[in-house]
Each structure stands twice: as structure tokens, then as C-alpha cells.
Amino acid sequence: MSSTPIQLSRCGKTFADGTRALAPLDLEIAAGETVVLLGPSGCGKTTLLRLIAGLESPDPGGTVRFDGEDVTALPIERRAVGMVFQSYALFPNMSVRDNVAYGLKVRRLPKGEIAARTEEMLEMMAIAPLAGRRVHQLSGGQRQRVALARAIAVRPRVLLLDEPLAALDAVLRDRLRVEIDALLRRLAITAVYVTHDQAEAMMLGDRIVVMSGGRIEQAGTAREIYRAPATPFVAGFVGTVSRVADLAGGEALLRPEDIEICAVAEGRIAATVETAHFLGGRCQVTLSGPDGGRLIAEAPPDAAPPVGARVGLRWRDAAVIRIPLMEAAQ
């Protein structure tokens, strides 16, 4: 399958009623890369995906390029994208096989080729036994696979996925996440994946674009975003952080796993245990710090301090996340 780089430049979106869903932004997606758009609902991630898809046009001045070619004016049906919708949008008037074959039929491929490629897709997604069924006879996970098969059957230049796992229960979501990850690696296709689930984003994305309020907060690998969040929003949205006083000025933040509970005398600060919850492999401990601020730390599963205990907290300097004052003020 071909892989196509995507370049967005000055892409903003203001809807007819005046709501600004997206501030003008630039984004480059490399060929074959999987980029996850992550953010809370209303952050503009779905609008950005729909701009790339061609379901929305950017405000004047914005351009969308596929492999250098300006596709801004092309409607979705002429962009050769594959898209998986949150609702799957499977056609209830067609069988599973006809759903998968639809894009090929629309492209007027020879009959034999349509049949062969459809079967190949059904096999690949392990839904061949369901080929004759109607959509309403499928389970959620099966629908998900049909939607994927249908989107990739046309060998799109770009694969776009809009919260494809949001409608599924937790167990199925975990399993399909692994499958989608393997599929994207195998196809080596440029993919843009929208989600509000940070675990999904960290697992699937070569790069994560964290969005909030219609703008990009930070784009980077999962590690960069977790270890070196660019803004307080990113630090708080991806993972949990506790705030500690920082002598150098600005925010000093710590991940729970980097805060160690010790005796008061050994700690850099003292705190009081408020709650301790056993979570299997570890305990999550909530404490109130010297200035009354709340801190979240981790303890070994069987060594959590009792509630109400006075303890010390210590951490390595290297673990401290610093966000420059200017960014923090924003």
C-alpha cells in the first residue's frame, strides 16, 4: 500500500453559526506514520480529522496537501481516503460482503478483481464466515472489523479513524486496540486516529497530538508527552501529576511513580496520608502537603502507610517536570 505524507497549513475552522472549532494550525504527518489526535471532547480533534478527510473545508487560507498535492478543494469522495467512523456507518441495506466491496464497486473495478480483493479483506480481518450476514446481525466487535475491512479494501492513501473503539466495552476495546496496532504496522499506511483515551493514544501513536480548545497543545512521541509535557494542560491530561514548590520558579510537577514515601526525617517535605487504595500491582496514596496542596504518590502494594500517618516524601531531581513560567501562565 502506498504511504502518503500529509501537510496541513493554516487550517482553521469556523462554523456557520460563528463557533470557532479550530484555530489556524500547521501539522505535518510523515508517510506511513500513525498520528493520534488526543484531547477532551470539544477540543477540535474530530474537526481536524474531518478537514483531513474532506468532510469539512478549512476557513479561507488553509490548505491540505497529500504528498504535496493540494487537495483542499477536493470533496472526500475524490481524496482516496479510508475512514472508520465512530458509529461505523455500515450500510444496513447491504451484506457484510457488499459493504466491504462497496468502495471497489464505486470505483468500477473489474468484477473479478472486486471479488478477489473483497475475499482477501474478509480473510485478513477474519470475518469471512460473516460475509453473508446483515449488519444488524453483527456484534460490536464484528462491526468494527467490517468497518476496518471496508475502509482499507480500497487501498486508500490515508486511513482516518474517528474514535473507532469508543462504542465498545473495555475488554473488547483492549483486544481490538492490539489488533488495530498490528494492522497499522503491517499496512505501513499513513493513519490519523482520533481518541480521548490516553492509553489508546500512547499505545497506537507514533506521535501524539494533544489538543485543547481548538489548538494544538503539544505534538510528540508518547514518551516526550509524558516525560516533558509542554503545558500544564498536557501534563494534567496525559497521566497524573502532583505539584510541588519549585525554587527555580515556574511549575514543578511529579508523576506518582516518582514520589517515594519515606520517614519524615528522610523526606524533602512532610505530608499527611489522606487515602490509600489498593490497585493490585501498587497502591495509590493521596496526601496533603505542607501548603495544603494534594499530592498523589505510589507505594508498593503491601506497604501502604495507614491513613492519617505523617510521612516524608522524596524524589530524584531528574524526575521533576518543569514547565516554563510563560507557558504555565497561559
Partner: protein, 276 residues
């Protein structure tokens, strides 16, 4: 104990209402096959009156069927595209168009008929043909078709389906033919049934628009109520019931299955406004 009493009271009211609706229908059906209704069923049962009605009024039944089918065809051709446009472009303009399209429901048939006669009555050939009656029927039934189809088309699931088809490369007309219309089938069939039923029973407009050569079934019914003996009027009504009841039953069945159907067909049942 109070509960029991309440139950019994509600049941009684319900049964009484049901009797109110059923008894006259049953009576008129019986009267249509009774030799002499004044004497009673003891005078014997006969199909003579039905035969008489057939001899006198067969043409009205044929014309009603013709007009009703033509009316379905016309409302499909006009209403389905219009509903699609309204669903695709929701906004103030669409709201205004929908208001105009459904306005004929709020205006009494008599007024519509008068307006049509004043404007088009001078075109003699048009005025005297059944096309004139058809125009009245289309005017009155079009809102039902538009609403029934619009209800299915404006479901979010339908927008998703169309975007799905577009993402796979389908252009405007392909999407319309392969995805939109097939999945709006429930609404289209419901609308068509409704139009058929309403057209067969339409009287208000038709009475004003008809000529001696373009009498429909309800016009003939009014005629027989005014001038024929009770048994013939009843037999004629019986024939009308035989035509309309299957349509009504089909409509009921449709709204039942639609309530339990898939994601696209989650539309509320459409309730007709009979032309009385």
C-alpha cells in the same frame, strides 16, 4: 382495593370508546348485506345491494384507485427529493420551505379547493379532467410524504452512512441511489401508504374539484348517502372499508415494525390528519 376500582373504571372507559368506534362500522357493514335493514337481519342476507353499487358506482372506485396511485407517484417524485434537500441543509431557509410545504395541512381543504378553482378553473381541459382532482390530492398529501421521509433522512445515522459512502469514493448521485434511498425505504413506504390511504378517502377538496365525469369513491359515497336507500349506501360503505382497511392495517403494522427496527429507522409513527 382502590386500585382495582381504578383499573375497572379505566377498562370500562376504554371498552366504551372501542364500542363507540366499532359498533357503527359493524352496523353499516351488516346493513350493506341485509335485504331490508328496517325489518332487520331476519329479512335475510343478500349481496344484491353490493351488486347494485357495483353497477352504479364501479367507475368511481376505478377512478379513485387511478388517482390514488398517480398521487403516490407524484408525491414520491416531488416529496422524496424535497425531503432530502431539507435534511441535507437544515437552516432557516429549509425551515421556511418546510413550513410552506406543510401549510396545506393547516388550511381547510375547502379554501385550497376554492383557490385552485379561482386560479386554474379557466383552463377548461385541465379543469374537467381528473388531473385537476389529482393536483388537489397531491397538494394535500405531499406534506405527509415529506414528513415521513424527512424523519428518516434527518436521523444522524443517515448522515453517517452518507459520509461513509463518500469516504469510499461515492459521488452525489451514487450515494443517493445506493445508500440514501435504500436506507430511507421505511420512511418512503410509510409515506406512500399514508398518501394512498388519504387519497382514497379524500373528500373536502375532491367535492369542490370534481365534475360529473371525475367522481371519486368518497364523492360517490356522499352522493349515495344523499339519494340512495340505506342498504345501498351501506353496501357502498362496505366496499370502501374493504379497500381502505387493508391499507390502515398495513400502516399500523409498519409503525409497529419501525419501532423495533434498526438504527436508521428510528422515526416516530406518522399520524395522518384526515380530511374531514
Amino acid at each position: 382495593m382502590r386500585n382495582r376500582l381504578g383499573f375497572a373504571l379505566q377498562l370500562a372507559v376504554t371498552l366504551l370508546v372501542a364500542a363507540f368506534l366499532v359498533v357503527p362500522v359493524a352496523m353499516s357493514m351488516l346493513a350493506g348485506v341485509t335485504a331490508n335493514f328496517f325489518v332487520g337481519v331476519s329479512s335475510g342476507l343478500t349481496l344484491r345491494w353490493v351488486g347494485e353499487v357495483w353497477r352504479l358506482y364501479a367507475a368511481t372506485i376505478g377512478l379513485s384507485m387511478t388517482i390514488a396511485l398517480a398521487c403516490v407517484a407524484a408525491t414520491l417524485a416531488l416529496g422524496v427529493p424535497a425531503a432530502y434537500v431539507l435534511a441535507r441543509r437544515p437552516g432557516r431557509v429549509s425551515r421556511a420551505i418546510e413550513e410552506v410545504l406543510t401549510l396545506p395541512l393547516a388550511i381547510p381543504g375547502l379554501a385550497l379547493a376554492l383557490a385552485l378553482i379561482i386560479t386554474w378553473g379557466g383552463f377548461r381541459d385541465f379543469r374537467t379532467g381528473w388531473g385537476f382532482v389529482l393536483v388537489g390530492h397531491v397538494l394535500y398529501t405531499l406534506p405527509f410524504m415529506v414528513r415521513a421521509v424527512l424523519a428518516v433522512l434527518s436521523a444522524t445515522a443517515m448522515r453517517d452512512l452518507e459520509e461513509g459512502a463518500a469516504s469510499l469514493g461515492a459521488g452525489f448521485w451514487t450515494r443517493l441511489a445506493t445508500v440514501v434511498i435504500p436506507n430511507a425505504r421505511g420512511g418512503i413506504v410509510a409515506g406512500a401508504l399514508m398518501v394512498l390511504t388519504l387519497s382514497v378517502g379524500e373528500f373536502n377538496l375532491t367535492w369542490m374539484l370534481h365534475t360529473p365525469h371525475t367522481k371519486t369513491l368518497p364523492v360517490g359515497l356522499a352522493d349515495s348517502y344523499a339519494s340512495m336507500r340505506l342498504e345501498i349506501a351501506s353496501a357502498y360503505t362496505l366496499l370502501f372499508f374493504i379497500m381502505i382497511v387493508p391499507l390502515l392495517v398495513a400502516m399500523q403494522a409498519m409503525s409497529r415494525t419501525r419501532r423495533t427496527a434498526g438504527p436508521v429507522e428510528e422515526l416516530p409513527p406518522c399520524r395522518p390528519l384526515p380530511s374531514n
